[in-house]
Symmetry: C2
């Protein structure tokens, strides 16, 4: 695994390495482009394809969903719904899914905010109501990325928030995914995928109910479709390939560090595994460990491609520089394999989730600890949050004034309204003065 030295190549060069492509700069492979050219009759970009699909589903509903599902997925569908009653439960994995579900539920219950009120003036009151969304849609991707753990991570927080109806769309309705959805409390499942599924949930069709928010990861077409429908409903975030960044000092165990870098790399050839350390010796040991451990992995081709493409060990001059670089990178997963991780915590400004110490490896968070594993990627941890119960709640202000308190505020309101030229605003206050 490649090692670069910040003092040699300079901070700017390191930052360049850590700069990720934006979600809309990802290029389609020649194979995908050729397949799409066959379907659409011309060589369209991903966003052009998505705009066409979303617009057609918005206009033509199920007819467009059926048409694109046939053309793109090669599947002939009439009825999208999966019968929940028929879903069977695989007992062995199910026991572990239940442990995970319980931990996820417990953590997200602790996250629940409360509606509150606060008093003003003599007998007036302000407040903030926290109200669950009525209906949300969970997208679960097909292919190798169809993870039952993600199903739990998306549905359980919505359930905890009090969402009345949770629907799920997936092109890959495999047994474990369906069992996880049932366990988590899904209300309806539809076996459709891609941009057409996203559009169907955003606008509603004959078979698919319209939702208030769409959550869950997907490929580039799903991601671009989520952006396209944003505003017609809300979405959780725009997510891309997975990432880990590890900060390690010379107390770190190179075997653990290498294993954690690889656990991320096996996700996707585009996954990103970065380690920043102050120790050149450790850097070399970890690099060797990555090469050694890689050999025995079943998914070594994917992991090797990711390490080759986006893997990097940075030797920083100080721990503070390492933290600065981590904040610059804003990784999805940040592991602190250092002697006193909590001492550094207040300095961490940008990360999706922070794993503190040698015994908090990322897979603990992926599967079992309880906090969500749906996390901002591609540097968006600078502004997006981990999926949480807030994702499924909205806030409404409450204002209740007494006549006396309103009259006390009247002069200021009238002055401000008139300064803005909004005389009817001032008038609505004056009318309350006259009639009092």
């Amino acid at each position: 695994m490649r090692i670069v030295n910040s003092s040699k190549i300079g901070r700017e060069a390191v930052e360049k390495f850590l700069t990720k492509k934006a979600f809309d700069e990802v290029e389609l492979s020649p194979k995908v482009r050729a397949a799409n050219k066959k379907i659409f009759g011309e060589d369209l970009s991903a966003i052009e394809i998505v705009r066409r699909i979303v617009s057609d589903v918005r206009k033509f509903g199920d007819a467009a969903v059926i048409d694109y599902t046939k053309k793109i997925d090669g599947v002939e569908l009439e009825n999208f719904a999966v019968e929940l009653g028929e879903i069977e439960i695989d007992s062995e994995i199910f026991a572990s899914l239940k442990v995970a579900a319980e931990n996820i539920r417990r953590f997200h219950v602790e996250q629940l905010p409360k509606s509150w009120i606060t008093y003003r003036g003599e007998n007036s009151l302000l407040g903030q109501a926290v109200i669950p969304l009525e209906r949300v849609g969970v997208y679960v991707p097909g292919g190798t990325a169809a993870y039952p753990s993600s199903v739990l991570m998306n549905i359980i927080p919505a359930k905890v928030a009090g969402v009345r109806e949770i629907i799920m769309c997936t092109p890959n309705a495999n047994k474990t995914v369906l069992a996880a959805a049932k366990l988590a409390g899904v209300d309806k499942i539809f076996k459709i995928g891609g941009a057409q599924a996203v559009a169907a949930m955003a606008f509603g069709t004959e078979q698919i109910p319209r939702v208030n928010k769409i959550v869950g990861p997907g490929n580039i077409f799903v991601t671009l479709a989520k952006k396209e429908v944003y505003g017609h409903c809300d979405i959780d975030m725009l997510a891309g390939p997975s990432e880990i960044l590890i900060i390690a000092d010379d107390t770190a165990n190179p075997v653990y560090a290498a294993a954690d870098l690889l656990s991320q790399a096996e996700h996707d050839p585009l996954a990103c595994s970065i380690l920043i350390t102050t120790s050149q010796t450790l850097a070399e040991k970890i690099s060797a460990q990555v090469d050694a451990q890689l050999k025995n992995l079943p998914r070594r081709e994917i992991a090797a491609a990711a390490i080759e493409r986006n893997g990097l060990i940075v030797v920083a001059e100080t721990l503070d520089e390492a933290i600065d670089l981590a904040n610059f990178s804003a990784p999805e997963h940040l592991e602190l394999l250092i002697q006193e991780p909590f001492a550094l915590l207040p300095k961490i400004k940008n990360a999706g989730a922070i794993f503190l110490g040698a015994y908090s490896p990322e897979p603990l968070g992926d599967y079992l600890a309880g906090p969500n594993h749906v996390l901002p990627t591609g540097g968006t941890a600078k502004f997006f949050s981990v999926l949480n119960v807030e994702t499924f709640l909205k806030r409404t202000s409450l204002i209740s004034y007494t006549q006396k308190d309103l009259l006390g505020a009247a002069a200021d309101i009238i002055r401000l309204a008139e300064a803005e030229g909004l005389h009817a605003h001032a008038e609505a206050i004056r009318r309350r003065e006259e009639f009092s």
Copy 2:
């Protein structure tokens, strides 16, 4: 003002009246289209214009900002910055702005969530860190919509949240707007506007620093630009014309109700003023009051156009039907002019802000009470929140396990990882077993 009767025209017909156009269905006026045709050389839709501007600013930075500012706003600019030191303060309005600012600050401080930790297993810990965004951009529109009160409402919550740098862009750097920004604690002001200002903040240019989130209302071009840059940074919401919906029973004062409907109508010919009541008599009185009060308003042309276009009094059969219709409409502002407003509160699911009782008219919330007046419009209160301190914060998970607790969880993690085919994930756990 027009009255419709739910029992006569039927619930569906009423719902159709209450259904708003989506933000991307708004059509440009012939005048605006002609002006844009001159600038762009062809008859482009609003979204095509915005995509072109955003793409140019992303590629060419300040050169594109300067070029579009000249072409669209007719202003030749080299230096965008406003000198904060030179901003003077208008003493009379300023006193009222200060009262407003203090109330806004106080309410938003009460909103502040805390980072927290929770214990697990023997000596393990999970948590949620709440971290302010580093830099945000506030957009303040020009024209008649340049409101100092909006400047306070956007900047103060960011300041309370702990945002390190707050920049503001406005094409209309008038004295009161600048004074309000200074009072609220803005760090930098730039006198640019439109889609080019939004793009400049999202991608950064030579003069404009790149921000993590853009907040604040604007015209259709600004709104579409916010959607276009979403994902490169976060945005607050996609906002359209302002709205009020009043639920009134026969205890309501028709003079107050009419004044409140008009205070919304004076904003914009596209503003929406709806009243739902169970009393036919009240409906008629309010309708007459609206016509009477309208005559004396300085902005009567705008208000009359809005009432004509989007004004409606609905006579519902029951208070429950009135509430159902309000939830269907999901208004920006909801006034409850009824005898026991708090008795209905739990039934309200969708509204930006709720004003309870006769002495809580909307302008109280617009200017002075303290809760934010930046609210979701166009039915998006079904999924978007009022602007609040959370708008400027993000959530990061914390995971810290001890060796013993990790080993206790190991079997479940390994089973789930292997069921998903992610053996390197399982391996990262196993390595901790071996070395322990």
